[in-house]
Amino acid sequence: MNARLADQAERNARAPGVAEGLQPYIEAVDGISRLNLLVDGMHCGGCVNRIETALAKEIGVVEARANLTTRRLSLAWRDDENDAGHLMAAAERLGFHVVPFDPEKLLGGDKEAEKELLRSLAVAGFAAANVMLLSVAVWAGHFQDMGPATRGLMHWVSTLIALPAIAYAGIPFFRSALNALRGGGLNMDVPISLAVILSAGMSLFETYRGGEHAYFDSAVTLLFFLLIGRYLDRRARGRARSAVENLTALAARAVTVIEENGATRSVSIDAIKPGTVVLVAPGDRIPVDGEVVEGATDLDTSLITGESAPESVSAGDRVFAGMVNLTGSLRVAVKAVGEGTLLAEIARLMEAAESRKSRRVSLADRIVRIYAPAVHLAALLTFVAWMLFTDISWQVALTYAIAVLIVTCPCALALAVPVVQVVASGSLMRKGVLLKSGLALEQLAEVDTFVFDKTGTLTLGRPELVVDGSWNKDDLRQAAILASASRHPLARALAAMSPGSRTASGVEEVPGSGLRLDTSIGERRLGSRAWCVVEDEDASIDPELWFARAGHDPVRFRFRDQLRDDTAETLQSLQKRGYAVELLSGDRPDAVAYVAKALGIEVWQAAQTPTDKTAYLEGLREAGRKTCMVGDGLNDAPALAAASVSMSPATAADVSQITADIIFQGDRLSGVALAADTARRAHRLVRQNFALAFGYNLLTVPLAMAGLVTPLIAAIAMSASSIAVVLNALRLGWRR
């Protein structure tokens, strides 16, 4: 039977099993079942419309609602009229790949936190607008003889609005400040909470004794501004993260188990025990570590070894979770699952490296460790000095001390970093670079060494035919007839070079060896050197296919994993900016040397295992270098975690994408240089912003200590400094 038909039959046989694996994702209430699906390939309003319309037409469907932002689809139907497998098949027919997911596990808490911020923001906005309205009247009253009774009324109304609003909208800050204090540390939220609470408290006291000045407007506008920064920050990060999570969930698959009576059954990966025999169809990823019991095939091992050329395996060979089966179907006896696999070993290495990384502290937190004590000391000094050197009452001296705390309230300081990060991550996202945390940008600005993986990072990770004169057009056309019947990456690359070539019927694929076709003028073979019986021992560093036919000498097709279009350009521009560039690959030394030479990279290491890579990066770190690791394979994941900051292409293994701080999309490497550039500029802007914020404090703190700051001056100075910081951050988006 044709190899392709055999695969198809195998796939069809598995189809009914799909619905069984779905059970944990379906929620059934009162005869209505609900299912959440991730939709791969939904990019525009047209796709949303097609999916919703098609599914709504299915029998029994009560709701089909797609969310374009998160690429998710929520389905509800009457159990007795339809089933999940059928509905998913309907979506697949439209050309979208759908995968069920558990909404609780994906982003559950994050979405709630985002909504809480939005609610707080709305409350703070309402209070800020109304209190400011009353405050403007009071300020105008200072110059137009407003009576104390009217002013008192205004203050009391402000109190009634501001206090509940602060109590509600301040919760995100208070909670975080409390956590920091409990842990014995300080973060930006400590001075913020203190200033807000003290200014509200003092204003309440002033209002109670009928005083002239209340700072309610400062307290609520401060909260309002800060919440805007917080919300934008959270949203930008949430989006990048959900994009990555979707990619991960799409790869999750059920496993096909072969029972002793020969029947197949689809089972969740968690339920597999060692000793079970599982079926791995061509095109599938091997889910377990094990030994081949039946079948022969070529495996794409790039995930584990970083090696680009496929490896042939047959009965008795060891295979590892994460390898992709390319040509023939395999029966694998399970040796290890879950925690026992090589894959899990790599994950453990990665966790160890991650825990070292979590000790990184953001720039803002480092500054606040100096800033907060200094401010609190200044307030104390103010109080003590007024008490010692003048004869004013202690209440007034306390008022002055609190005024110092209020004007130094780090509004501009707290906005300095998040605003720049929001602008930077927004502009990078539009160019296809996703930032997973603001911290990554700070780390990237300090990097001095870029370490690249080879396969899939510098190269596209897929072989392409080399035009070297050893074959002619007729050889290619004839070979493509055989090649187009196979899934093997080299055969595919060959077929792609001869578009429109028809496939002959009767092509036989011998997994691990090659393809064979009997024609009226003799047998034709396409495959390995041995398969085509070539005795020539000319060694080649590149993967190759031989084509043999009666009456002709065998010809050789050489393949090379091509560099990305802009690899050379990107590396040059990095080197020109003073970064050291190194190459760290799991591939064979001769293949790595060739690429390093072509790209002008002087420092390179080949045949590196995941452990070697991690050790190498640790070595660089101990030598005082700040590294950025760029890699895509699972074998790179621990190294990605060990570097100060890491990047992955969007085609990378899921684990790598989760580990990496920055993901770049598309076939181009220029995202790396772009991110490095943006990080440096963002770093410069952050420092300018800190300078602006400090300049503002230098100006207002002496005024406050001298007892000259009124609520009007505080409101103007605070808004002016915040606006200056925001405008400065926006410059990042203006250039280019």
Partner: protein, 48 residues
């Protein structure tokens, strides 16, 4: 000045109405898919 006695409550009430409307919209999921809503309007749904 006695006008303040009803003008301030009236202003606050209007503000509160706006706030309540926003919180209701947030709760009913209108901010969940900002990209989709913008494009959805371009497609007719009479044939559903």
């Amino acid at each position: 000045m006695s006008g303040l006695l009803y003008l301030i409550p009236a202003a606050l009430l209007l503000g509160l109405l706006g706030l309540a409307a926003f919180l209701w919209a947030l709760r009913s999921g209108q901010f969940d898919d900002l990209d989709g809503a913008a494009e959805r309007i371009l497609y007719d749904d009479e044939d559903r």
